[in-house]
């Protein structure tokens, strides 16, 4: 087993990895930028190495500096977390060249699965369902039209180069196809300098269902059941749960088999996630493989009783998987809520700033993976995730209420967070009934504003605070100019 691991990440995920390392008797080395001198992952690691300026390019995305830190630390292995360089095949390759064990799949696997067209080909070849579609370098309307009939309407035109919705059109019938193709191609050309488009079946009200897999270097592959991650804002997941209300035992078995097949087909090693789109009729289609530890891995840990990071490290050190598929028995229900420093009233605008007060939830069925503490200043250079709150209960209905209770017990002052939004969402009938589709927020919570059920109490608290001001300890209650808070400032802006 490794004696020391360097964690090439920050925030809650760095802390998450540090904890398991400490429990395995492995020393940890953190890395940090100027903005993170007092970050929790720096405080909690055995050692910490300075990378550079706060800009990610000078620090957490800077391969040379990270490699240098590994050398200095004497770590034998590197855990990339998620984000930053976690899915950078060149980085994984460089680690290998430098004699550092990269805790993740081989560089070649990251590379081929990172290429959407190549990944789709691998899956198709191995009998894993993909969204019916047709790829074409140049637009040959007749061929596309023939394929469109095979796929069936509605379908969606997407730009090969694209992203962010540009060069995209939904087509409901064949008579609109030609015009739509032209429009999309033109838009793609002006947006990306390349007019290539392709067509795909348009999945109505899809769910995002993914399977956690573990694969060792001896070729053993198992899956740890599904997670449903349909609740998203800006294509970013915000609530995840397992089991999914939409997956029957039969579907679970079939999709699990596909996930394992996908892992085998791509030569996968270590922990990974096979993502599927699920339609209303129970058909599922391969979406992509995430070649890293997933933000939402804790829900799987809660229902399987496993520590995925521990298995990652064991696999990376060359150990055989100690589990077989039959050992994996899920139990109960788990939800994860991501706590972002964002203003949900304002289209989820980021809210960096200073945490002035923090009260964390605890108790039965509650897990908190956090990267912050009271007094910490959330930098604006990085992802707005502050922490993840995970709850477990015997049944989903109880667990939803447990999560609401835990969110209400979670108080973060100084920056705006997604907490009030999450509470409202979890209280909704749609969520309770499991009607969770990827357009959930757009369809049901667009332009959300918090309910204000306790205005009378808030006013009373305001006045009671004035009346008991002398009981506050000095030095803390006064407004500090430097801690200017976005809560009280205004601007003219749009995202």
């Amino acid at each position: 087993m490794f004696r020391k691991i360097l964690i090439a990440n920050r925030g809650e995920i760095a802390l998450r990895v540090i904890k398991t390392c400490r429990e395995m008797g492995i020393k940890t080395a953190a890395v940090y930028s100027d903005a993170d001198i007092k970050a929790l992952h720096v405080l909690e690691a055995d050692e910490a190495f300075y990378l550079g300026k706060s800009d990610p390019g000078d620090s957490y995305l800077n391969i040379d500096r990270i490699i240098e830190a590994v050398k200095k630390s004497g770590a034998e292995a590197l855990h990339p977390g998620y984000g930053f360089l976690a899915e950078n095949s060149l980085f994984a390759k460089r680690c290998g060249e430098e004699g550092i064990v990269f805790i993740g799949p081989p560089s070649s696997v990251i590379s081929s699965l990172g290429d959407k067209v190549k990944a789709r080909e691998i899956m198709q070849k191995n009998g894993i369902p993909v969204v019916p579609g047709f790829f074409e370098k140049d637009i040959d309307f007749d061929r596309i039209s023939r394929e469109a009939e095979k796929i069936g309407y509605p379908l969606v035109i997407k730009a090969v180069a694209g992203g962010g919705g540009r060069g995209m059109r939904i087509v409901n019938s064949s008579d609109r196809l030609k015009d739509a193709l032209k429009e999309a191609s033109g838009e793609a050309r002006s947006a990306f300098g390349h007019g290539g488009v392709f067509i795909e079946k348009f999945i109505i009200s899809p769910r995002h269902i993914e399977f956690q897999i573990l694969a060792d270097s001896q070729g053993n592959v198992i899956h740890l059941m599904e997670r449903e991650c349909s609740i998203q804002r800006r294509f970013q997941k915000i609530i995840e749960e397992t089991p999914s209300t939409a997956v029957t035992p039969l579907m679970r078995e079939e999709m699990g088999r596909s996930a394992v097949a996908a892992a085998r087909a791509s030569g996968y090693v270590n922990a990974g996630t096979v993502e599927f789109i699920l339609d209303g009729e129970g058909n599922y289609y391969f979406l992509e493989v995430n070649t890293r530890l997933q933000v939402e891995h804790p829900v799987t840990e809660m229902t399987t009783g496993l520590d995925i990071v521990k298995h990652q490290i064991e696999i990376a050190s060359g150990n055989r998987l100690t589990l077989s598929q039959d050992d994996i028995k899920c139990r109960g229900h788990a939800i994860e809520c991501r706590i972002y420093a964002e203003d949900p009233e304002n289209n989820f605008a980021p809210c960096p700033g200073n945490i002035t007060f923090l009260k964390e939830p605890s108790g039965p069925g509650v897990r908190l993976d956090t990267g912050i503490y009271s007094g910490f200043s959330i930098p604006y250079e990085y992802d707005p995730i502050l922490s993840k709150l995970i709850t477990y209960a015997e049944r989903r209905e109880h667990n939803i209420k447990r999560m609401i209770r835990a969110l209400q017990d979670y108080v973060v002052l100084g920056v705006k967070t997604t907490i009030p939004f999450l509470i409202d969402l979890l209280k909704s009938q749609q969520f309770y009934r499991g009607e969770t589709f990827t357009d959930f927020i757009e369809a049901g919570f667009h332009g959300w504003e918090p309910p204000y059920p306790h205005i009378d109490k808030a006013l009373t608290a305001y006045i009671a605070d004035e009346m008991s001001a002398k009981n506050r300890s000095s030095g803390k209650e006064f407004y500090k100019e430097k801690d200017i808070s976005p809560w009280s400032t205004l601007g003219n802006w749009k995202i």
């Binding site: 420093a341 964002e342 304002n346 605008a349 980021p350 960096p352 700033g353 002035t356 007060f357 009260k359 604006y380 250079e381 990085y382 992802d383 707005p384 969110l407 209400q408 979670y410 108080v411 002052l413 705006k416 907490i419 009030p420 509470i423 918090p450 204000y452 059920p453 306790h454 205005i455 009378d456 109490k457 808030a458 006013l459 009373t460 608290a461 305001y462 006045i463 009671a464 605070d465 009346m467 008991s468 009981n471 506050r472 300890s473 803390k476 209650e477 006064f478 407004y479 200017i484 808070s485 976005p486 809560w487 009280s488 400032t489 205004l490 601007g491 003219n492 802006w493 749009k494 995202i495």
Partner: protein, 175 residues
């Protein structure tokens, strides 16, 4: 004592009396109630209103406090103070008058230069915070008279990034 407090645009005129160190009485909008209160720490007050316990978490800003109850934050402004101090900014929530970032951010692009004519809602500066780019727009038709920041600068809310002189013609301004 009378307070004029503003929540979410609505102003509440609240009459309050301190009964003793632990009790107060408030009335507003025809609602009247007594409350017991306990200060727990700098940021937490426990209220008991008609037998029902409530935990209020409070953070104090310059002329306002954010009060969190059951996970929801109520931004409460002292209407008298804010009215006196910033008479011209009174309606700023609805009609912003300046180009300033809504959060600490770094400037990615400046899309205007001094002397440029700008239209209302035209993008003038792009800032980035937490992996998200935000375009700051002109609050009205006018002329850029000064650009106060450069690309790569770290900027704070309240900092005026671009000074724009408003056009005089009434018509164009109303659109």
């Amino acid at each position: 004592m009378e307070y004029k407090l503003k929540i979410n645009g609505d102003i509440y005129t609240v009459e309050s009396n301190k009964i003793d160190d632990k009790h107060l009485k408030i009335s507003f909008n025809g609602i009247e109630h007594e409350a017991r209160f306990e200060r727990i720490d700098d940021n937490r007050i426990y209220l008991n209103i008609m037998g029902r316990g409530i935990n209020a978490y409070i953070v104090r800003n310059r002329d306002s406090k954010s009060v969190v109850i059951d996970g929801v934050a109520y931004l409460i402004e002292d209407a008298e103070k804010t009215d006196k101090k910033r008479p011209k900014e009174r309606i700023s929530r609805d009609v912003p008058q300046t180009v300033t970032p809504p959060m600490p951010a770094v400037i990615v692009r400046i899309m205007v230069k001094e002397g440029d004519r700008v239209k209302k809602d035209q993008g003038v500066v792009v800032v980035s915070a937490m992996k998200l780019e935000t375009t700051l727009t002109a609050p009205f038709n006018g002329t850029v008279i000064r650009v106060n920041a450069g690309e790569g600068d770290k900027v704070m809310p309240g900092q005026i990034l671009v000074d724009i002189e408003k056009d005089n013609e009434g018509g164009a301004n109303n659109e």
